[in-house]
């Protein structure tokens, strides 16, 4: 049994989609076709559509939302979330997930700060990746060697890595860097912020790995049907383990950006980030249980979440009502997307 509660739900809802392989090849009735064509552009959109609606709404309510300045602002906020969402996408595709991402950020932040103090910024960046990547290695090996639930392993790691970060730093932030430390998080090249550039680079590489390499195919296959993949000779354990390592490495990159942005090594950095990243991934159409999802859509998931919080802030919505609004919008976006998928088939 795959863990695919998500995909199963889909099957039920889209009842009957599964057997009619023929429906794809041949024509839907003509009236339907017209309707489909007319609204195709919109319906295809789904989550992107939700994002656009959100933007329009905010822009009408508060003109300052639609300024270039705020665009740059949102792009940076988006980029910081997107990197972690890309990280999360890998284990999710393989049928698991990593809820230790937030703690990896805390650990990487502390390690990066200490390394920067001793050996300079380049070493700091490297050590951030090594620290979070190391956590990914432990996660991956534990999950694949012992075949235990990714939830438990990464939950244990959530606790462990945070404890380690606090232990190393004695619970206090690590300060005292020179000015160029902030470049990764705050710098700009032309109109583009560094976080945005880094997120773009991570996306491109991630996309290539998923869509153009053998490993990418193996990951999709493993998440889609682990037994079938195993029987086909795919080293499923290794494939899974690597997905956690990639998650850690990307998280390390994101952690470096975040650490640079807060200009200090913070053992508590990133708390709760894992759920936000997971939300972006799932809103982007990935199935918990694995095997399904396109990295490009994760971008939309991250956009929705970051626009939402920026827009509500600019609208001066009170923080309690913001919490409620965030809940409602996230669910609505996904419902809308589900409805689109049903209409399309």
């Amino acid at each position: 049994m795959p863990q695919g509660n998500e995909s199963e739900t889909n099957q039920v809802t889209e009842a009957g989609r599964e057997d009619d392989g023929l429906s794809k090849s041949s024509k839907p009735s003509s009236r339907r076709l017209e309707f489909t064509r007319l609204s195709a552009a919109l319906l295809q959109a789904g989550i992107p559509l939700a994002a656009v609606l959100l933007c329009v709404f905010f822009a009408i309510q508060e003109p300052r939302f639609a300024t270039l300045d705020n665009g740059v602002n949102v792009a940076r906020q988006f980029a910081l979330l997107a990197v972690f969402a890309f990280a999360q996408a890998f284990p999710v595709l393989g049928g698991g997930f990593d809820i230790s991402i937030g703690s990896q950020v805390g650990l990487a932040s502390v390690v990066m700060a200490l390394a920067t103090q001793s050996w300079g910024l380049a070493a700091g960046l490297g050590m951030s990746v090594v620290a979070a990547g190391g956590v990914g290695v432990v996660n991956g090996l534990t999950i694949s060697t012992f075949g235990v639930s990714p939830f438990v392993v990464t939950l244990g790691m959530l606790s462990f890595a945070r404890g380690l970060a606090l232990y190393i730093s004695d619970g206090v932030p690590i300060y005292g860097f020179n000015d160029n430390f902030g470049f990764l998080g705050e710098g700009e090249i032309g109109p583009l912020s560094m976080p945005f550039i880094i997120a773009t680079a991570v996306f491109v590489i991630g996309w290539i790995v998923l869509n153009r390499t053998t490993y990418g195919r193996h990951l999709y296959a493993t998440g889609g049907n682990v037994e079938a993949a195993r029987l086909a000779g795919i080293p499923v354990r290794r494939v899974k383990a690597i997905s956690y390592i990639l998650c850690g490495v990307i998280t390390g990159i994101g952690a470096a950006v975040l650490t640079s942005r807060v200009d200090s090594g913070q053992p508590n950095l990133g708390t709760g980030l894992e759920l936000e990243a997971l939300a972006a991934v799932i809103i982007g159409g990935f199935a918990l249980g694995g095997g399904e999802g396109r990295l490009g859509n994760v971008v939309w998931g991250a956009i929705i979440i970051s626009i939402l919080s920026n827009g509500l802030n600019l609208l001066r919505v009170s923080s309690y009502i913001q919490l409620m609004a965030i809940g409602v919008v996230i669910v609505t976006a996904v419902v809308l997307d589900g409805w689109r998928k049903r209409v399309r088939t």
Binding site: G272, S309, N313, S319
Partner: protein, 345 residues
């Protein structure tokens, strides 16, 4: 923002709508804004009535002085430093004249405070400080004094007391300063006092209660429990009551609020210190107004807890209440009124 209704304030009978110097604890002479005065607030969270009281003090003072509050943001917790930075970015987008900023972290918010100041916004730190030259003023309770007073009180009662410390969230400056004040004072002047348990936890009553119950089970003698935040003291009081040991152990709490007052009345808590958060909020608004007006403010000189910001107004003479004072406790500087909603001002 509800600040606009200052216009509706009845000003008949020669009564002045604004605060008096006494309302400001004698620290400042009240000023009124000469030009536009739009304020924004960024606070760590509202999970503790302390921050609600700060928000109240600021909102009420703004109303009296004729400023508007554009937006009040809370980051949802100390760990969400990155969220807080985004919120300040969003306040900058809103073009507020001054930001009342209680940073989640000292150095981590330096860059954003700089950025806000560079954009022409007056930045005032409330209760927590930012490591920024450009912050106009800070207002803070003198935290080490809180711990020192507690050490003195315990030592006076029993010079050989065994003490347990609920030391608050890991890495929070205010918590560390209080614990440090306490420990330094012991080292300096009360060699007989001994700390037998210490635990840092989130500011969460249920968690504190659990921890104290575990301590009590060891059967070790505990003469006093030091709690650096109200919910911690409440948890300690509740645990003692549950074990029927409230008579054996004194509980010292650093915060006066509705529940610690209750506990004091019931004898579950033996010592409550007033942090006067409402006053802190008022002083913050006044300092913002003075900065906007270009007024110079003379601050008493003292040994600063943090090197930055350059100008900090410390509140020293925090009153202490014990069971003897029940019935005559002044709460208007510590608590927001029942019907105050911090998220909607």
């Amino acid at each position: 923002g509800g600040g606009d209704d200052s216009a509706d304030e009845p000003s008949s009978g020669g009564e002045v709508a604004g605060s008096t110097k006494a309302d400001l604890g004698g620290y400042l002479d009240p000023s009124a804004p000469e030009g536009e005065c739009k304020l924004g607030m960024a606070l760590p969270h509202f999970r503790d009535p302390f921050w609600v009281a700060i928000a109240y003090g600021a909102a009420d003072e703004a109303r009296r002085a004729g400023c508007t509050i554009e937006a009040v943001y809370e980051a949802g917790g100390y760990e969400n430093l990155d969220t807080q930075i985004e919120q300040v970015e969003d306040l900058i987008q809103l073009d507020v004249d001054a930001i009342l900023f209680a940073p989640n972290d000292y150095e981590g918010t330096a860059a954003i405070a700089d950025r806000a100041a560079d954009s022409g916004t007056v930045v005032i730190n409330l209760a927590n400080m930012s490591a920024s030259e450009k912050v106009a003023y800070g207002v803070n309770n003198y935290d080490p004094a809180v711990g020192e007073a507690m050490a003195d009180w315990v030592a006076e009662k029993n010079p050989d007391a065994k003490i347990a410390v609920l030391s608050g969230p890991a890495g929070a400056n205010w918590a560390m300063d209080r614990v440090k004040g306490f420990e330094d004072r012991i080292a300096e002047s009360h060699p007989g006092l001994e700390v037998v348990f210490e635990k840092s936890t989130d500011v969460d009553r249920a968690v504190a209660q659990q921890v104290v119950e575990d301590w009590l089970v060891t059967g070790d003698q505990i003469d006093a429990i030091i709690a650096v935040a109200a919910p911690l003291g409440e948890g300690a009081g509740a645990a003692l009551e549950a074990e029927g040991r409230e008579g054996d152990t004194d509980v010292l709490v650093s915060t006066l609020n509705e529940e610690t007052l209750n506990f004091l009345e019931q004898g579950l808590v033996d010592y409550v210190q007033s942090e006067r958060p409402v006053l802190t909020g008022r002083l913050g608004v006044q300092l913002a107004i003075k900065s906007l007006n270009g007024e110079e403010v003379d601050l008493p000189s003292y040994e600063a807890l943090t090197p930055l910001p350059p100008k900090i107004l410390y509140i020293f003479d925090a009153p202490v209440y014990t069971s003897d004072d029940v019935g005559s406790i002044e709460t208007s500087n510590d608590m927001a009124p029942e019907d105050f909603d911090p998220s909607d001002v």
